[in-house]
Amino acid sequence: LGIDLGTLKLDLNSAENLYSTFCGPWSDQPLKPHEMDYPVPHEYLIN
């Protein structure tokens, strides 16, 4: 009964936290590094 929660595509064995790469309840893919905001030093923001 119920569903196999593993099919919800969350890496529940991950040692890292999940929420920081969570792409929302409607997506099966975690966020990729180039999709994640990150507080880089503002000198890096050249564009």
Binding site: Q29, P33, H34, M36, D37, P41, E43, Y44
Partner: protein, 148 residues
């Protein structure tokens, strides 16, 4: 033992609206900043290209194995993202240093002629992202004050 429950009228209305709403998909891009320096639509690639992100491609170790040019590409084109951060870390591991005054990366090319606790003077290589290649800079003074 509780058995099913008749849905009250209000729920039927809500269900009707939900059925309509779920036709309007929510995309990850809806809750991400626009990245003007990235093409808005990822171009479809042939199916035999890898379509999934590689395992551990969000780790520093993975970035350590990327080529220098790739790292500069990521650094200059994916600013404000974790990818840029990881690229910066990997570049530092390759002895590149970011000079905030010139907002460029430099790498020591040969032993500097003068070293004080404030600067180093010598020949450095820097990455010119306009000409997209490495250039040598002689007699360059690398000021620690501007060393990020």
């Amino acid at each position: 033992p509780l058995g099913p429950v008749q849905l009250p009228k209000q729920c039927l209305y809500q269900l009707h609206m939900l059925e309509a709403a779920c036709r309007h998909t929510i995309y990850p891009v809806d809750s991400q900043r626009l990245r003007p320096y990235l093409p808005p639509n990822p171009c479809p690639t042939p199916s035999y290209y890898p379509q999934q992100a590689l395992q551990h491609s969000d780790s520093v170790e993975f970035f350590h194995r990327l080529s220098t040019e790739t790292l500069f590409f990521i650094f200059y084109f994916m600013e404000g993202t974790k990818a840029q951060y990881l690229a910066a870390k990997a570049l530092k591991k390759q002895s590149w240093r970011f000079h905030t005054k010139y907002m460029m990366w430099f790498q020591r090319h040969e032993e500097p002629k003068t070293i004080t606790d404030e600067y180093e003077q010598g020949t450095y290589v820097y990455f010119d992202y306009e000409k997209w290649g490495q250039r040598k800079k002689e007699h360059f003074t690398f000021e620690y004050r501007y060393l990020e």
